[in-house]
Symmetry: C2
Subunit: 350 residues, 2 copies
């Protein structure tokens, strides 16, 4: 484990999460015909009969993904479930079962873990999924929650990141950047409070962005909208790492380019106000903020009339040839290349 | 989070792992008809078509489940997969896919994680399972590995903990206590080495028990034996927490009692020698040691001729009425009540 003095060791931060995953999983053999899609999408797709099963997992760890100073355990349990369900919906599938594994240190009591599970069960009830298993064990340092979720979809309904076609409309549900600005607010007030500069944290009336950060929802309604309208997206991904990063995933997986218009990117007014307070361009929060758990998807151009009439969806651009790259058309008319600067799970290390 | 001075908080250690799980999962609603069996067995059982799917998850954390001073990362990756596959086999099912989620601190380099994944992939190859997804993120403190495994079985082949019947034979694969004695040896040598009492750790010729601890295998061969002989166990569980604990799980789930004979419990001679060095009764290592990943199962009495001819299986006792309790018949003829003192994931906390 002595990597500090030895040059042959490569720090994790040089590769980042996606680089590391690419390196670890290249040349991976697939042995079973039941494995339809392995690594490289929001969830794996498995064939065990009439329908496809989708399987995803996420791991959240104290100090990196959440801070218990302002994250109530009940909310944390809820959010830990929701982030997994979001990955299932991103496959155009319905979540059915989850397992929950946690490691907990002695600073937690039975009552704390019950509170965490209240949130987990509340999310299960709300989204209609069964908690079917897990593992509970001690740790020396804080709390880690690992959830695996299983969902199902008719075989012809599963949507991958890889199906976007030229001229498809690029759409996003809800609005972006709110969770990130909520986090900035929480962090600012935490620091002021801990320094003793304020008697109590002051969150003003920013309930919306706080809720976006502390109690996000997964967009089940969008999947139901697809069912209701008979529209099947050509590609889809959930926005966990920021719009830029997810657009690049779709472009790379589908082998296409895109044009996205600044004016069309939906940003809530609370997000705008808070971003201005922090001197952050609201666009930056939307592009790179992450944790919004909205769905980014592409649909054929001929669905325009239906999609444009849906208040919960914004059309933000269109798919183009690969050669044109991934471009953001600014309000000024200038164009910039989209690059990923979103949440990188491995670059924040200390 | 301030639970030190407040009496209304209950320390986790008062309930232990199984008590906590019982508390957290009581009154759990099952919403989907696809959920055949939720919490309470080695794996959940799901119905998505022709066959049953089984789903299990395990989480391993540095300092609690493994010590990287003597656990090579490659072995750790291998073991992390094997402990999950063992749960799948314990359902009389075949593992097909796994997901791997890890949290890693900055002390690890890309090369370390590659070594871990070498072990993971080696286990996948050996047992014929596909690595289909996961999550990789940073942590502030060491390494945590969470694996979920999916397996399949014909609907009439799945074996639960709950089917043991009076007069069934109680059987165990391989031998017990070795992994525990291997751990004792590793810990002793680590302490001597760290104190400077020895120039290098001396593991003597105890290769077998070291391998039992560092590179355990899952008993795929036992499941294949069932297929080959046409025997379906009435109940089954894998021995991860020690024979006592697993016997009690089967007795409780099946609503029966048992008689197990000290003389019949298989213990390897290396385990016996090491136990004597440590002044631990070898029987204690077998009953309470844990991490052997053997299979404990019950079969109908009329399979005696087939089962007793299998060198890889020992018949250690028989199932009795619930009223007789769970008894261990000692070589001396005296009887003792079996109690669980095995590995308790929540009682070792500091």
């Amino acid at each position: 484990m002595e990597n500090k003095t030895n040059n042959k060791f490569t720090p994790l931060s040089t590769l980042g999460e996606f680089g590391l995953i690419d390196k670890l999983t290249k040349n991976l053999k697939i042995l079973h015909k039941s494995t339809i899609k392995g690594i490289g999408d929001d969830a794996a797709v498995l064939d065990y009969g009439e329908k496809f099963i989708v399987l995803t997992t996420d791991i959240l760890t104290e100090g990196v993904h959440f801070n218990l100073v302002y994250m109530p355990l009940k909310h944390l349990g809820y959010k830990a479930v929701v982030v997994n369900l979001s990955d299932i919906y991103a496959m155009n599938a319905y979540p059915r079962q989850i397992t929950v594994s946690i490691t907990i240190s002695a600073k937690f009591s039975v009552e704390h873990i019950e509170e965490l599970y209240q949130g987990i069960k509340f999310a299960c009830d709300k989204y209609g999924v069964d908690l079917v298993g897990g593992d509970t064990t001690s740790s020396y340092t804080g709390l880690t929650i690992s959830i695996a979720a299983i969902g199902e979809a008719a075989k012809n309904k599963v949507v991958y990141r890889s199906g976007a076609k030229e001229n498809d409309l690029i759409c996003v549900s809800g609005n972006l950047g709110g969770a990130y600005m909520g986090l900035q607010l929480l962090e600012r007030e935490r620091k002021l409070f801990e320094k003793g500069s304020v008697e109590r944290p002051d969150f003003g009336d920013y309930n919306y962005i706080l809720e976006r950060q502390l109690k996000p929802e997964a967009r089940k309604d969008i999947i139901e909208m697809f069912k209701e309208t008979g529209i099947k997206p050509t590609s889809m991904i959930d926005i966990s790492d920021g719009l830029s990063s997810e657009l690049l995933h779709i472009c790379k997986s589908s082998g296409i380019g895109c044009s996205v218009y600044q004016d069309k990117i939906p940003i809530d007014k609370e997000t705008v106000i808070m971003a201005e307070e922090f001197h952050i361009p609201p666009l930056t929060a939307a592009l790179n903020g992450g944790e919004d758990y909205e769905l980014l998807f592409t649909v054929p151009l001929d669905t325009y009339d239906i999609i444009s009439a849906r208040p919960e969806v914004s059309i933000i651009g269109h798919i183009s040839k690969q050669e044109t790259g991934c471009r953001l058309i600014m309000s000024s008319g200038s164009e910039v290349e989209i690059t990923a600067q979103g949440w990188n799970a491995l670059k924040d290390q200390q």
